[in-house]
């Protein structure tokens, strides 16, 4: 999703150190590198993806974010990015706290389970939602911990995490999420993008 990348790029300042957690085949890293002057690193669990990243000359280490983030010192990055991966972790809460330890700020994007099409799917069909952003069936999805934008808001409040910036993405349209429009955005947004800090 190109639009997501653009928003992430806008949130990141130039000449900073960035870590992309779960960087996949390095598409986002390359996009950021081409658009901003950054010292950017990645960590990725799939060997095939890591090999592709390394082949592109990107600095990526093979590893499991749930275990291997521990090797990075406190605040060793200005920004840590977690793009549409949070829901796939065994322990998302621990991962978030690691992101906020390693990075001064973190950018987390989540596929919004509160999106009206997702809700409607479950309501009408009575089966687990399968959509463009959530293409897997319940029995083979890597997504263990789906959440809604509202859930993520509540989580940050509870854990005293500062929500610096919240953006709702609906296809190509992006808009700011505020406390007043939260209920609506939780219904209309496909993706939530959050800039958080401790």
């Amino acid at each position: 999703m190109k639009q997501e990348f653009k928003i992430i790029a806008d949130l990141i300042e130039s000449n900073t150190r960035v870590l992309d957690v779960g960087c996949g085949d390095g598409t986002l890293m390359e996009f950021l590198k081409n658009n901003k002057k950054l010292d950017i690193r990645g960590i990725e669990i799939s060997k095939n993806n890591v090999q592709q990243c390394i082949g592109k000359g990107l600095t990526v280490i093979e590893g499991d974010a749930e275990k291997d983030l521990s090797q990075f010192p406190d605040e060793s990055f200005d920004f840590v990015i977690l793009s549409q991966t949070l829901q796939a972790f065994l322990n998302p809460e621990k991962v978030i706290s690691e992101l906020l330890r390693v990075g001064k700020k973190a950018i987390v994007t989540i596929p919004n389970f509160g999106y009206w099409k997702v809700r409607l799917h479950l309501l009408i069909k009575g089966t687990m939602p399968v959509t463009r952003t959530l293409p897997d069936e319940w029995y083979n999805t890597p997504n263990l911990h789906m959440c809604t934008i509202q859930d993520f808001f509540n989580f940050c409040k509870k854990r005293k995490i500062n929500l610096y910036n919240s953006i709702a993405l609906q296809n190509l349209k992006s808009s700011k999420i505020t406390n007043t429009n939260l209920t609506l955005k939780n219904l209309t947004a496909v993706l939530g993008i959050f800039l958080i800090e401790k």
């Binding site: 060997k47 890591v50 090999q51 390394i54 082949g55 000359g57 280490i61 590893g63 090797q71 010192p73």
Partner: protein
């Protein structure tokens, strides 16, 4: 051994103090080069060889008449492309392919050094090879690359010369030899020393040769280079040119015959004392020890871009040991990439035609070179 061959020699004529305390001077460093050094001199790659390697990385080895030891990786259009890069590889000191080693003759006694040769370390090997940069007037290498003991030299090189290479690729290696590594090396050494023809290392002066001992050392080591799965798939319990067991101690099994063959061809090309010296250097290798037990300190000043590669089935230099290097580098914010390549071929994977490894290496080297322009 190997005299009158087509060997390029650099005579090092400035004194070098070895870690053991002795100083050496006026000694040969045998090397080979491939490809062309460009005008800017920014395309040089120094390849470090492993325990039983030599300077003949690619093409036909003029001594053995066989393919160079890393022909899968180094050559025209290969991962380390001789059309693009100037590749230098030197025989380590202590070795037996033309560099200063225990099979050389001591000019003071007119006898072959044997075990009177000084003990050398990985640090000594690297410091000697550094002379090649001055010889070729290369200010900064593009890359240093090596697997196994070659990887140790890569790590030592960056530690000694933090800004003399842009890229460093240590492969299937470790920052310090484990007890298991030392144990296997000791097994090899004891096997050589147990051969009555070794005569305390003086065999060359007495026209003897501890071939049996060296051959057993090679057989034992060879097992450590392969994986259990690889061995099982290749040999299983297959019999060697016979229909049934012979109820004897002949090589009934193919694996026995294979190991005996590996041992016997090895003694033709390798010096037993060199085997002792080089395995010792590996055992002594410990980058942590020289940096207060903190590996990160070994690399504290470097701007070098690292890529560390390990193999799933390598139990001699396992992924965990390679990852320790990654962790140490990440702790100081160094530029480090890491990938573990899937392979059943054990430690030897880096020397073989492991396509995912070679493809990754090739793309990484080429993009890193372009990005540096």
């Amino acid at each position: 051994m190997n005299k009158n061959m087509n060997i390029k020699n650099l005579i090092i004529d400035k004194p070098l103090k070895l870690d053991c305390g002795q100083t050496i001077n006026n000694f040969p460093l045998a090397y080979e080069t491939y490809g062309v050094l460009n005008e800017k001199k920014d395309n040089a790659i120094l390849v470090f060889h492993a325990l039983t390697g030599d300077q003949f990385v690619s093409g036909i080895n003029p001594i053995t008449k066989k393919d160079g030891w890393w022909s899968y990786a180094v050559g025209s259009d290969k991962a380390i492309d001789t059309n693009k890069y100037f590749i230098i590889c030197a025989n380590v000191i202590g070795g037996c392919s033309g560099s200063f080693g225990p099979s050389n003759t001591n000019p003071l006694t007119n006898k072959v050094y044997g075990t009177t040769f000084p003990i050398i370390t990985i640090n000594d090997m690297v410091n000697v090879q550094y002379n090649l940069l001055e010889f070729f007037k290369i200010k900064k290498l593009f890359a240093v690359i090596g697997g196994s003991m070659g990887g140790m030299q890569v790590l030592q090189f960056v530690s000694n010369f933090p800004n003399k290479t842009k890229v460093a690729i240590p492969i299937a290696t470790t920052s310090n030899h484990s007890a298991q590594n030392i144990a296997f090396n000791e097994l090899g050494r004891q096997s050589i020393m147990a051969d009555t023809n070794w005569v305390n290392g003086d065999y060359s002066n007495q026209n003897k040769n501890p071939n049996k001992g060296l051959s057993v050392a090679r057989m034992a080591a060879h097992i450590t280079y392969l994986s259990k799965k690889g061995l099982q798939e290749k040999f299983g319990r297959k019999l060697q040119e016979r229909d049934d067991l012979k109820f004897s101690f002949d090589a009934d099994f193919q694996i026995e015959s294979y190991l005996r063959h590996q041992g016997s061809v090895f003694v033709d090309r390798f010096d037993a004392n060199s085997y002792l010296y080089i395995t010792r250097a590996m055992d002594y290798f410990d980058l942590l020890k020289h940096h207060d037990g903190n590996l990160s300190k070994a690399f504290i000043d470097t701007k070098t871009k690292f890529l560390i590669i390990s193999f799933t089935s390598d139990w001699l230099y396992p992924t965990s040991e390679n990852k320790e290097i990654v962790i140490a580098l990440n702790a100081i914010g160094a530029d480090v990439g890491f990938v573990e390549i899937e392979s059943d071929k054990g430690h030897d994977s880096f020397l073989l035609n492991t396509s995912s490894f070679l493809d990754t290496l090739k793309d990484y080297i080429n993009t890193s070179y372009q990005n540096n322009k």
